[in-house]
Symmetry: C2
Subunit: 357 residues, 2 copies
């Protein structure tokens, strides 16, 4: 990190980074499919404080009822790369919950006070059209809680608690071992630059988080997942380890930037390799059944989605952009149960997480 | 109710009724579309106690990738009429929660005891193919908590608490006022046979329950919804009313039977009237967007679905048979927003519940 950028407040540095990361990821997708329409850039202002930009791709298939006017079958089916930079007041109930992982947040149970917060993040979900090409999800975010401003104060209160979070994971309908190895290797290489304990801890956390108990299977083949990274002790990282780990705001911001910059190298080569493979109706059907499972995870378990849906005034369309264009549910589907089939091979991988890198 | 049947234990009377109701509803649907395959009857045994039968219809459209081998375009797209008759031990946490509405359940916070329960019910969801024909949902159920059996006891313990619950509601993609009036009139006529306060209370409860806060719209045009009906005071029924209401087990069972028997008359005429109306790709697309909202309600809010998904050993395929064959999500869809269109008319009805009967 250059010394000049580190003099800026962290919230400003994060904002500048995620704005440029959004543009670089979106233009990366646009270069892969130059004949498709551009992502729709949709800026918004939050009445209670802050702003954001959704970059959304949607182009129904020419063979579907909704897409008959389209002449190009696009590489992507539906997806979004969204950023939001918001601030406001955090209600006492939310503060109480956050104290579990951030003891530096002051909380007086006698006085039900709200505290100012700042949150900036990038979140993306991309569902490609070709069943051979996996869905991908990524998220990079920064959170701050500051001292309440007194009447007459201007500017921003002192930072009392802060942390980084995020992750990146892959959800194939058809399993290619080389894709899993490539994806995890790129993420591991990024993590390893900042500490040897990071990848193993965050890979395990990802396997645990993206799991559907009612299906007894993982959502996909994982990646990394992390939250609450700050200078405080962390329950997912080994406490007695001799390996250094990023702790200061600038060290953790450097880690987040490495991971954000790794998104393209982790995913674009896989998409490019799979997007033109031949497929048939049977494979498309299986892809839609798998997308049903994706919907189940996001609506039933995903903390971000649930939190968003319960938040009054939240931007529902940005939250639910993670859902696929189309999903399918079959009662007692036989797909995936016949031993030796490609669908069965995927299920085996989802039932038992493996090491890929 | 004949005097001979009322001598049987209520759990047996309910079981016999829902078994015959399932058969009569399923054969009602089969008569409407004699060229379609029959419902698939799928009996199951619960390892922890009890049994059930799912009657499921699934037949992908010939124009879809999954349905190319089909020669008949069926009236129904996907649906199920399920019954379950189960018993077992209710854990202390569940007992504690149920005591809120059933003070006759004994609960000693010092002793964390489980209590035997019995539950029997019929649950159905039908998604027709034609966008003019509404989705329908219905449920009729009976619950009992009995005294724990001591070692050496045989048979069944004394009933300590019992109640009936259920409901029936309609979810159209295109709004026909005459259908809403017909549906609600049949339900109201059934309720009115058992007490003048029932329909207004249960209609309101239905509007409140089937509501998506994040969309600020109802799931459909309502119907009736009720739970915890027993001889205890009921918070949804006016306490000072002079109108009689069913209170004894046999009075409430008679009410449940009237409502179960009303299902066919409330829905079959609507299905028959709408199932052959012409429709185009635009209407099919809107239907799939509306089915996305149905999925959102069931996975995010529906108590039965959530409870089922969290229950270890639950039959997931029976719980999720309520989901449509296909659902669709469009980012910031323009459908429904243009004033005066048929899609817009539906949204108006979903935003503001009305009186239909």
């Amino acid at each position: 990190m250059s010394s000049s950028s580190s003099e800026k407040p962290m919230r400003q540095q994060v904002e500048e980074y995620i704005v440029s990361l959004q543009e670089s990821i979106v233009s990366g997708f646009e270069k892969i499919d130059p004949n498709a329409p551009k992502f729709k850039r949709d800026s918004w202002i939050r009445a209670q404080g802050g702003r954001g930009q959704s970059c959304v791709f949607a182009m129904p298939d020419p063979s579907s009822p909704a897409g008959k006017a389209n002449t190009h079958t696009s590489v992507l089916e539906k997806g979004g790369v969204n950023i939001s930079i918001v601030h406001g007041l955090l209600p006492p109930a939310a503060i109480k919950q956050m104290r579990a992982d951030h003891s530096s947040i002051p909380f007086d149970p006698e006085k039900e006070t709200s505290l100012p917060f700042f949150a900036a993040g990038l979140s993306l979900v991309i569902h490609p059209r070709n069943p051979n090409a996996p869905t991908v999800h990524a998220n990079y975010r920064y959170f701050e809680i500051t001292e309440p401003l007194k009447e007459g104060d201007t500017g921003q209160g002192k930072v009392m608690a802060w942390w980084f979070g995020g992750g990146c994971d892959l959800t194939p309908s058809y399993f290619f071992e080389e894709d899993a190895k490539h994806f995890h290797s790129v993420l591991k290489a990024g993590c390893d630059q900042h500490g040897a304990d990071l990848y193993p801890a965050f890979k395990k956390w990802c396997d645990e988080y993206f799991y559907l108990p009612h299906r007894q299977e993982a959502r996909g083949i994982g990646g990394i997942f992390f939250d609450d990274l700050s200078d405080e002790p962390h329950k997912h990282l080994p406490s007695g380890s001799s390996a250094p780990r990023p702790k200061t705001p600038s060290e953790l911001f450097a880690f987040i930037k490495t991971m954000g910059d790794s998104f393209g190298p982790s995913y674009f080569p896989i998409l490019t390799k799979r997007m033109s493979l031949p497929y048939d109706d049977h494979m498309r059907r299986w892809q839609l059944v798998r997308r049903g499972r994706y919907v189940e995870f996001n609506l039933v378990y995903d903390r971000g989605t649930k939190f968003g849906l319960m938040t009054p005034g939240a931007r529902i369309e940005s939250i639910l952009m993670s859902l696929p264009e189309v999903a399918r549910w079959e009662y007692m589907t036989e797909m995936g149960s016949e031993e030796g089939t490609e669908e069965w091979k995927l299920i085996q991988v989802l039932k038992t997480p493996r090491e890929w890198a």
